[in-house]
Each structure stands twice: as structure tokens, then as C-alpha cells.
């Protein structure tokens, strides 16, 4: 890991996009997230790291209320998106998820054509008035996901027929086609080989110009490479949150240091 390189990363102060205050999550009787407070900046890549089962994915899923689909899951505390509580009764989780897109651990393209996969979100949200506009959105999204050149001649082919890395980039294209403000990524590279991983990481860095990206990762190298801010979770607690360079080079909490150096986790 190149320490100098990380410290060089620009950390210009930006507006806060997401604020979490005293968030607690329970799965039935088990207490999965304990009093988490975090502020996620706009146009920043924030990485959540920590050992398996520490609650980082659970917390990520709270941000677009995907935990609503799990019956036994209860969320307490406030999560504010642009200052508005997303767990307010007036907020429609469906609209929220259009603003906060998500990419999952395993590539999950729909069993439809590549074109239909990307146009799925814009279509259900009515983002295009005609076919030409839709073509435009699809092309733009695929280009931004760095997969356009590979699929432009076979947009009618099924998305499930692509390779793993291509599938994941297709899923990213699908997520950005709805023009979200925040993009949540739950271990997006864990099913990918190093080459595909590098492509996705490059992509994440580009996405930062338009979106806030929150990425959960098990790979500390990946967190160091792509993120500007890093949060370390352990046993449901947010142990430490700060600029990536500082977390990796000069952590305040001994548990963070142990995890980064490989002694726990």
C-alpha cells in the first residue's frame, strides 16, 4: 500500500449527504447495529470495512430501507438524506430507492435482454418520453459503467449470458440509469476476478463526480484504493470513522489497528 499516494487524495470539504443518528437495528432478538452515528459526504466514496457479521451490510441496507423487506428487522434512530428523515411515515420507500440505488454482492441481472435490464429502472419511473430518449439513457448508462463497447452489438442478448464482471458492470449501469443521488455497493467485487475488479474500481472512482458512493468491502486494499472516507465496524459498533488515509496509517482505536494489521477479523 502506497501511503503517500493515499494521503495525497483530495479531501476537500463537501456537503453532507447522509446523516445517521443513533441508529440501532434488531433482527428479532439480536442487536445487529448499536448506536451508529455517521455522516456521509456528497461526491465522496465512503468505504465500510470490518469483519464478517459486524453489521456493515445491514447498515448499508438501512440507507435505502431494503431492510423493510425482512419481516423480523426493526430499525431505530434517524437516517437523514439531505436533511429529511427517510424513516418518516410520509416517505415512500419506493421513491427513496429510486434516489438511493444499490448494487449487490452477487451480480443479479434480470433474465431479460441487456437493453431491458438497463431500461428497467427508467421505465418504471417514467424517465423517458420515447424510444429515442430511452436509447440515449441506456447508452449513456452503459458507457458510464464502462461496458458499452463490449455489449453495444448485442443489446438484445440476455444479460444473464455475460461474464461475471460484465454482469456486475451491467448491474451498475442498471443502477445509475435511474439517476440516483447515492449509490450503495455491497461488496460489488467479491464475485469478480482481479481484472474485473480493477475495472469496477476505476468505475467507482469516476462515479464519484456525480454521486455519493458507499461501498462495503472485505478487501482493505480496495477500501484504500477507492475511498476517501472509511468507517470501521466491529460487532455492531462503529468503531472509527475518518479520512481513509488516516484510518489506514494512523488509526485512533486499537481495534482498528488490529483489524487493519490482520490481528482480528
Amino acid at each position: 500500500m502506497n501511503t503517500m499516494n493515499m494521503l495525497d487524495k483530495s479531501l476537500d470539504t463537501k456537503t453532507t449527504k447522509i446523516t445517521a443518528r443513533d441508529v440501532n437495528v434488531y433482527y428479532g432478538d439480536s442487536h445487529a447495529i448499536k448506536d451508529v452515528n455517521v455522516e456521509i459526504d456528497a461526491n465522496t466514496v465512503t468505504a465500510f470495512i470490518g469483519p464478517s457479521g459486524c453489521g456493515k451490510s445491514t447498515f448499508l441496507r438501512c440507507i435505502n430501507r431494503m431492510n423493510d423487506t425482512i419481516d423480523v428487522c426493526r430499525v431505530r434512530g434517524d437516517i437523514l438524506l439531505d436533511g429529511e428523515d427517510i424513516y418518516d411515515k410520509r416517505v415512500d420507500p419506493v421513491q427513496l430507492r429510486a434516489k438511493v440505488g444499490m448494487v449487490f454482492q452477487k451480480p443479479n441481472p434480470f433474465p431479460k435482454s441487456i437493453y431491458d435490464n438497463v431500461s428497467y429502472g427508467p421505465r418504471i419511473h417514467g424517465l423517458s418520453r420515447n424510444k429515442a430518449e430511452m436509447d440515449d439513457i441506456v447508452e449513456k448508462s452503459l458507457r458510464r459503467a464502462a461496458i458499452w463497447e463490449e455489449v453495444k452489438d448485442r443489446l438484445d442478448a440476455p444479460g444473464t449470458g455475460l461474464s461475471g464482471g460484465q454482469q456486475q458492470r451491467l448491474c451498475i449501469a442498471r443502477a445509475i440509469a435511474t439517476e440516483p443521488e447515492v449509490l450503495l455497493m455491497d461488496e460489488p467485487c467479491s464475485a469478480l476476478d482481479p481484472i474485473a475488479t480493477a475495472q469496477v474500481e476505476e468505475l467507482i472512482d469516476e462515479l464519484r463526480t456525480n454521486y455519493s458512493v458507499v461501498i462495503v468491502t472485505h478487501s482493505m486494499q480496495q477500501a484504500a484504493r477507492v475511498s476517501q472516507k472509511t468507517a470501521f465496524f466491529h460487532l455492531g459498533n462503529l468503531v472509527e470513522f475518518g479520512p481513509t488515509g488516516q484510518i489506514f496509517t494512523n488509526p485512533e482505536d486499537p481495534r482498528t489497528e488490529s483489524y487493519i494489521t490482520g490481528r482480528i477479523g
Binding site: M66, V94, R97, N108, F110, Y120, C171
Partner: protein
């Protein structure tokens, strides 16, 4: 020796063989099972198998073949003048068999001893009366030729039976000795037993397949007989179904096929939407408590015998439809479309109700098999639940659902009781769902029940209809399997 005792002896030998094999193997290893190649039970099972399988198989084959051989020898020895005009050798042989069985019975009950039974003479003894005393009724007095044949029959059976007993016992003992001699601690008994189990499984599988083939062939032969008596053109392309026993019946499949397909189509129109929506509700919306009692309740519908559905059609649905669309009880809607309770619609609706659990249960399984990741992906893009189901879950599950519908269709086509009781018995082409119609299955039943003569086309047509039905449902099933295989999504 009666066969029962032979089987008991063979089984007893098998049990002893098991025990001998086991102890011999243990003895060869000085009582230490660790030195054996296989567990002691395998040695026992190996000996038991060597005893039971050859003996019992020989027994079974012998029992099947012996009557055929004896029959052909006895009937060959019957002089041809015994056979009166307008009867067949089969009738005489029936007499011979009854007589020989009756004589056996007389001896068994002690009216005559074996010697006397052999020396019977139809001139001096009233055999008919003697047999009557032990409860064997003969149709006419016994002629000497028949008596001679019956005596020959008895003699051959007795000889055959003794030979069978000896051969079976010899095979069993031979198996015992041979397998015991092989039993020692290095013998790989486990592998032998394993092959035996494989053979058993193969036998079971081939029995199932052979039975199917047998059914098809028996239908095929009768169908060929039918086409020998009746023009195939009329059967396949005629337009009228009018069997009569004067010999000029019009036996066309088409009106029946039309009725079958019409009723099945209505049944599917009822069953597919209701069943599919029920499946979607159960798999996607219902909480675990609702699901845990709603699903079994729905599946109870599948356990109701179809005759009960038939009663439901006859007593409830038919009159209800008549009240709505006809003049029954003065007609609620003031329509005169329907004149009787039995109609295509009655049968179709009730059959549809019968098929609901079939469609819903299969579709529910298929929808549940769609990976959660796809739902998450769609929900994560801001789709609502119903958008997710319509645009992601159902398309992914579609091949399976189509397969389920085709399976339901083949059940609808083969359904009989509901149609008998709900649809009436008139074969005709009509697009009016309020009229009575009939189906292939009900005609098969009516052509074969009652006084039937298996040489007339009116009866044999049932086999041709049955075979057509078989081909139709087989085709649908093959199509269903093909669709499911071809379009099944490889999720992983």
C-alpha cells in the same frame, strides 16, 4: 406340495442361510469383525440372496409358464370332433380346467381317494353329481373325451408341480452351498450385495417402464382391430358420433375431441388466473402465519375425489348457472340461454376449481425458486412489489408456470367424473357453452360399460379413443417438459 409351503420353506432356508453366512464369515475371522472385508451382515445377506433370488425367480417363471405349456399339450391331444359347431377350443378347454380342478377338490375333501379319481369313468359314474356335492358346478354332463383330457391335465399339473418343487429346492440348496463355500474373510460380500441392490433398483425402474409400454401396446392392438372393422377416415375426419348396434354406426372422434378441448379450455380459464394469483399472494405477499394455514387448506382441494366435484357440479353449480342464465326457478337475469343444468360451462367451471390447487401449488414452488437476489435488485431500483412481480419474478418463473399450466391441461383432458356428471352426454359441435356436450373420456366409459361384445366396432372404438387421448396428453406433457427445460433460467 402346495405353493404356499414351498415359499415358506424357501424363506426359512433364506433366513437360515443369512445366519449361516454371517456366522461362517465371523468364524473365518476368528470372531473379529475387523478382519473381515465387509460387515458380517453383508456375508449373511449375500448367502440369503443366493438362496432366495434364483429359487423364487424360477418359481415365479414356472408358475407363469406351466399352465401355458400344459394347456397347449392337452388341447393338442383333444380330438377335433369333440369341438361342436359354433363353439371354440377355448370353451372346451374351460370345461377341461373346471373338471380337473373339481376332481382335485373332490380328492382334497375325501369323497374319493386319488386312485378312484384316476379310474373314474363317465359311463358308470355321474361325475356331474359327484362334483356338485363338493360345490363345483358343471354346465353339462361330462363327455369321455373331456374327462380324458381333464385327467391328462391333472396328471401333467401334478408332475409339473412336483418338478417345480424339486427344482426350486435344489436351486435354493445349491445357492446355499455355493455361497457358503465362497464365504471367508477375504470375500468381497459388500460388493456383491451392492450389485444385488443395483439389480433390484433396475428391475423396479424397468417394471414401471415396461408396464407403460404394455399398456400402450394393448391399446394399440385393440385399436388396430378397431380400424379393421371401421374406416379410419370416419374416425378421424367424420363429423358425427352416433353409435348404434345395427352395424352402421358413425364413430367420429372429432365431436368428442371438440367437447374435450372446449371443456378443458373453460377449466383452464378458471384455474389459471385464480391459481396463479393465489400462488403469487401466497409466495410474495402472505405472511408466514397466513401461508402456514392457507397453503394446506388450498391443497386440501387437490385431495377431494373427483366424484365429489361431480356431485358439486350436479347439485350446486349446474342449478346455480341454470338460475342465472336459464329459466330455472324463473331465471334471475331473465335470460333463456340455458335449458338444462348439465352444460360445458358447468363441467368447465367445476373442473377449473379442481385444477386451482394444481396450478397454484406448482406455480408457488416455481415462484419461490426465483432467487431473492432478483427481487432485491428490482426493489433496489425503486420498483414496487407488484412491478417487481410482474416484470421480474413472473418472467423469470414463466417457463415453469407454462409447464404447470400444460400439466393442468393434460389433467383436464383426462378428467372423467366431473364431465359425466356435469356436461351431459350429447356429442356435437357447438360453440355455445350453455349446451350439453361430451368428451372422449366419458364416451370411453359408456362404450365399455354394460353388455359389451369385444368384437364390435362400437366397443373397440373405446380403445382407439383411449389411445388418441393418451397421445394427446403425452404430447402435452412432452411439450411442457420441453418448454420447462429449454427456457429454464440458469440462475447460478
Amino acid at each position: 406340495m402346495p405353493i404356499f409351503w414351498l415359499i415358506v420353506i424357501l424363506l426359512a432356508l433364506t433366513a437360515c442361510g443369512y445366519w449361516f453366512g454371517r456366522s461362517r464369515a465371523l468364524a473365518s475371522a476368528n470372531g473379529n469383525p475387523r478382519e473381515l472385508h465387509s460387515l458380517p451382515v453383508y456375508y449373511g445377506a449375500n448367502v440369503a440372496m443366493s438362496i432366495a433370488i434364483p429359487a423364487l425367480m424360477t418359481l415365479a417363471i414356472w408358475l407363469l409358464v406351466q399352465p401355458m405349456v400344459i394347456e397347449s399339450r392337452v388341447s393338442a391331444s383333444l380330438p377335433s370332433e369333440v369341438i361342436p359347431e359354433n363353439t371354440s377350443i377355448g370353451l372346451i378347454m374351460g370345461d377341461v380346467r373346471r373338471l380337473s380342478d373339481g376332481l382335485d377338490e373332490v380328492v382334497a375333501q375325501g369323497f374319493l381317494d386319488a386312485k378312484q379319481a384316476l379310474d373314474l369313468n363317465s359311463e358308470t359314474t355321474d361325475i356331474r353329481a359327484t362334483l356338485g356335492e363338493v360345490g363345483v358346478a358343471l354346465g353339462s354332463d361330462v363327455r369321455p373325451e373331456v374327462l380324458a383330457a381333464a385327467q391328462q391335465y391333472r396328471q401333467l399339473s401334478a408332475t409339473g408341480g412336483r418338478a417345480m418343487t424339486l427344482v426350486c429346492l435344489f436351486l435354493a440348496l445349491g445357492g446355499l452351498v455355493l455361497s457358503l463355500r465362497k464365504t471367508n474373510k477375504t470375500f468381497r460380500a459388500r460388493n456383491v450385495v451392492e450389485r444385488g441392490i443395483l439389480a433390484l433398483l433396475v428391475l423396479a425402474a424397468s417394471l414401471a417402464i415396461l408396464t407403460t409400454v404394455g399398456i400402450v401396446f394393448s391399446m394399440l392392438f385393440e385399436t388396430i382391430n378397431f380400424f379393421g372393422l371401421h374406416a379410419w377416415r370416419d374416425f378421424f375426419f367424420g363429423t358425427t358420433w352416433a353409435p348404434n348396434f345395427r352395424g352402421d354406426s358413425e364413430l367420429s372422434m372429432l365431436p368428442l375431441l371438440w367437447g374435450t378441448l372446449y371443456i378443458s379450455a373453460i377449466a383452464l380459464l378458471v384455474a389459471v388466473p385464480v391459481g396463479l394469483f393465489a400462488a403469487i399472494y401466497l409466495s410474495e405477499y402472505a405472511g408466514s402465519t397466513v401461508r402456514s394455514f392457507a397453503k394446506p387448506l388450498l391443497e386440501i382441494l387437490a385431495g377431494i375425489p373427483t366424484i365429489v366435484y361431480g356431485l358439486f357440479a350436479l347439485l350446486t353449480v349446474g342449478p346455480l348457472l341454470l338460475k342465472l342464465f336459464g329459466q330455472g326457478e324463473e331465471g334471475l337475469l331473465g335470460l333463456t340461454w340455458m335449458s338444462g343444468a348439465t352444460s360445458v360451462l358447468t363441467a368447465g367451471v367445476v373442473m377449473g376449481i379442481m385444477l386451482i390447487p394444481f396450478v397454484s401449488s406448482l406455480s408457488d414452488d416455481i415462484i419461490n425458486a426465483v432467487p431473492q437476489a432478483l427481487r432485491d435488485g428490482s426493489l433496489g431500483l425503486g420498483a414496487t412489489k407488484s412491478e417487481t412481480i410482474r416484470q421480474v419474478v413472473l418472467p423469470a418463473a414463466l417457463p415453469g408456470i407454462v409447464g404447470a399450466i400444460l400439466l393442468a391441461a393434460s389433467r383436464a383432458i383426462g378428467e372423467t367424473m366431473i364431465v359425466v356428471m356435469g356436461a351431459g352426454a350429447i356429442a356435437k359441435f357447438s360453440a355455445n357453452p350453455f349446451e350439453s356436450m361430451t368428451t372422449i373420456t366419458t364416451r370411453v366409459v359408456s362404450q365399455l360399460t354394460g353388455d359389451t361384445d369385444f368384437a364390435s366396432p362400437e366397443t373397440l372404438v373405446a380403445f382407439a379413443l383411449g389411445l388418441s387421448l393418451f397421445v394427446l396428453t403425452l404430447g402435452l406433457n412432452v411439450l411442457a417438459l420441453y418448454i420447462v427445460r429449454k427456457y429454464r433460467e440458469q440462475y447460478d
